[in-house]
Every structure is written in C-alpha cells, then in structure tokens.
Symmetry: C2
Subunit: 241 residues, 2 copies
DNA sequence: GGTTTTTGTGTAATTTTTACGCAAAGATAA
DNA sequence: TTATCTTTGCGTAAAAATTACACAAAAACC
C-alpha cells in the first residue's frame, strides 16, 4: 500500500491530531478518561495496539472547523462522550519529530472537565475507562507527558476560573469542594479559612437541604452562584488559594 | 502546476506553520517585530503580498525537531534575529478552516522577548521593522488576533515569571521597570509602593552607578538578581502587582 | 538663581491572610 | 441508653500585605 494515497503536496506535510485529557472527580479523587488503543481504520498503520492512551485522533482537513472540533468529534467517536467545542481548553502542542513511529504527527492537546457522575453512564465502557489520578497506567506515545502538562495547566487555571465547579455535581458540600481544590493544587487548607474565603467571595448559595443522610454530621449543600462569579470575574477578580 | 508535488498521503494533511510575536521595549513603549510579506519561494502560492505580518513559516517536516525549532529558524530567515528554541513560549494554535486562502494551514503561535537595543542592529531592516504596540498596522491572515492573544498571554505570564527582565537591558532604572510593567499590565502604580515591593522581593541589586547623565535627576541603576528570584520561584512564589 | 521635571524615600490606616479551639450532628459500639 | 468517634460548622485575634499619601534632592533649562 505504498502509493495508495491520493492527496499530493509539493512539500511534505505533517499529520495533525487533537488529544483530549478529560478530567472527572468522584468526590474523593481526580480521574482521567483513557481509551484502549485498537486498530484504527483511518490511519495507514496502527501503533501501540492494546495500550492505554488519551482519546484523540486526526484533524479532518476538509471538515473540522477548528482543532477543537477535532477534539470534540474524536472524543465522541472513541468514548461516546458528547462535549461541545467550548468545553475544551488548549493545553499545548506536542511536536517532537519522532513522537509517532508512523509519520510526522504533531498533536494539539486539550483538556476538558466533566461532572463524572453524569457522564459515566454515557461513556462507552468497551473502549474507555476512568483512572484515578494516582493510578494511571503507562500510556502510548508521549501521552504521559501530555497528561502531566495538562494537569499543570488545570492547576494554573483553577486560580482564575471556577473550573472546580465544572467537576462537581450541581449540588455539593463544602468539604467536597475543598477536597477537590486540595487534589488539584496538591496542598491542604484549613477548613475554617476555606469556608470563610468562600463565604467572602459569595459565589455559593445554600441549597434547601433535603437532609440526605451520610456517615456523620450532614453537611450543608451548596450550589454554585454563577451570577456573582461572573460579576467578580468581570472586575478583574481572581480566585486565590 | 496542479500536480507538481511529490508528497503523497492517503488522507489530506494540513500545512503547519509557526508564527512569532517578538516583543521588545525601548524604555518607553512596548514594540513588536513585523515583516513585510513578499513572494515566498517555498509556498505553492503567496498570499497577502505587501502586507505586514508576523514573522513565521512552514514546519519542515523532515528537519524541524519541534515546532519551536520552526519558529526559531523562520525568525532567523525572515528578520535576521537569532534566538534559541528556549526563548519561545507557546501562545496557542490557530486553526480556523479558512484562515489561509491557499490551503488548510494551522499555525502554532509563539512569543519571545528580546532586549531591543541589543537586537535592533542585527535585525534585517529591509524586510522587518519594529512597531509600537499602540501603532500596529493591519496585519495579514488572522495575525491581528494572534497578536492580541499573545499579548494577553504575556500579560498573564508576567505575574509568574520575570519576563520583564528579558525585555530590559542588563542594567536599568526603577522607573523603566515600572513603566514596563505598567505598559504590559495596562495599569498605573504608585511609585513608592512599586519601589517598596521590589525592595521587599529583593530581586534587584544596585549597580555602582557611573553617573550617566540624563534629562533630570540621575536614577539609580539596577541589575536583576537572578539567584534570589530563582530561590523565590522555587518556593512557590509569584510576582504580584 | 529660579523654574521645571524626575527621582528617592517612610509611615500610618486598611485590608487580607493566617492560626487556632470548641460544640453540634450523626453513626457505631458497648 | 450512653459513650465514643468522626465529620461538620462557626468566629476572633495576631500577623502580614496592601494601600494611600507628601516632601526634599538631583539635574537640566532658561
């Protein structure tokens, strides 16, 4: 199949892919969605068969309006997860000349945050699976590196944007929120100071608690108060921890 | 020249370019290096001839180790300016399907900071020129957009890294440093508070001033104290203004 | 010598951040 | 039923950082 192709260029062109780091949070740990690599019908050859990898795939030159559209389309095809283009944040370009053994492939990595509970059901479990952040298997290509960079990007973004809320269910407790921040920022906060700061920012609204029993004292439930957050953000605000 | 090419692929491939936003600072204003577009021997057709644009060009698939190497190589070829791969920071990918009228081209934008005085001489003035940030001409392609994003990235990075110092000469005055920060952050600071904060951070060392006359009172000269900055940065520090 | 521009300097008031202890809610075990 | 354990909620005092603010010295120009 040496000259099976029909797309001809005067100069060599690289292949371009979009890869997706999809983060979830189960109330306890940060999670990442990975796929098991199989044979890919579109690629001229398939590499790393049977290994775990980030979901992603090739830019469709004549169809994908932007590389983020590639990310959204491939994520849907490979995991069943349906996200919009706006859900993806660009992490960066990975372009090492030999990062793919088949041909020159540069990839634009993206990350996305999902409410885990609400998407677990719609995920195609045959090919995809969620892994705890502290228990990630070895990944194909340079996907380990991409994952690390994506995490550091998330870690940075959380200072400026309410990314935490994209990972939590609509209704959540203060301890859950704090644990999430601690997981991402890899630090511990004083519970009282954390609550004070949140109260000061006024970006949470208390939910009429239907007293949902648990193992200990029932925590108060909150909802994210988007209006207030947007107002704060508009005036050059930044969430600090 | 419809089928002049000799590079054949089974699926369509995009062209990939690296574009460079090179910032300089003349002690008064932020500047950007632009080139005047001419005929490009490498491209199958040339677009936007005669217009100003960001320096940049096509990834050489078999030669450029990473896309940052493309940026460095093209900057050198187009402007004469010789920077290392490490001098470039990635801004992001611009991949709109019709951003280049010739074919599908996605570009990875980068920015770099240079000590203006020391590079002005080595810049190829026939093709390249420095423009004040507040006096940028209309640019080819989507380069206006790239420029805006690059600036906002610089604005963000200056909180975490001593980027200011890359734009200043080795030896500089406190008012110069303040003016630079004000230009990038688009705010005004109180002179005394700015000086106090800098003193508190202890990242400047006073230089034995050879009393270099000027228009008014001779300002004290400083040099950036890298050791102290690195130490601070290592312990999770961040430059705030 | 007077005028103008630019630079350097310190302190008090305010705001933000940090540190810290105890009581109530709910579950489980004795 | 009571004791015990874990988890949650709450407020204040000390420390640190940020802000606001005024005057004198250096140099150039007239």
């Amino acid at each position: 199949m040496a000259t099976k192709g029909k797309y001809i260029y005067e100069y060599p062109h690289p292949a371009v892919t979009a890869d997706c780091v999809v983060f979830g949070y189960d109330g306890k740990e940060l999670k990442v969605l990975l796929i098991k690599r199989g044979k890919e019908p579109e690629a001229s050859a398939t590499a790393y068969v049977g290994e775990w990898a980030l979901p992603g795939g090739f830019l469709e030159v004549e169809k994908d309006k932007t590389i983020a559209h590639t990310a959204a389309r491939e994520l849907k095809e490979e995991t069943g997860l349906r996200l919009t283009v706006k859900d993806f944040k660009e992490v960066g370009t990975f372009s090492d000349i030999h990062r793919d053994p088949r041909e020159r492939v540069i990839t634009i990595a993206h990350y996305a945050l999902v409410k885990l509970a609400q998407v677990e059901a719609s995920t195609d479990a045959d090919r995809a699976d969620w892994f705890s952040w502290n228990d990630i298997p070895h990944l194909a290509f340079d996907h380990d590196k991409i994952l690390r960079v994506a995490f550091s990007r998330l870690k940075r973004d959380i200072h400026f944007e309410p990314v935490g809320f994209d990972l939590l269910p609509e209704v959540f407790t203060l301890p859950q929120l704090q644990n999430l921040y601690e997981s991402i920022l890899e630090v511990k906060f004083d519970r009282r100071n954390f609550a004070n700061k949140m109260k000061h920012y006024a970006i949470l609204t208390e939910v009429e608690s239907p007293t949902p029993r648990r193992g200990t004292r029932t925590p108060v439930l909150y909802r994210f108060y988007k209006e207030n957050y947007d107002r704060l953000k508009g005036s050059g605000f930044q969430l600090e921890f």
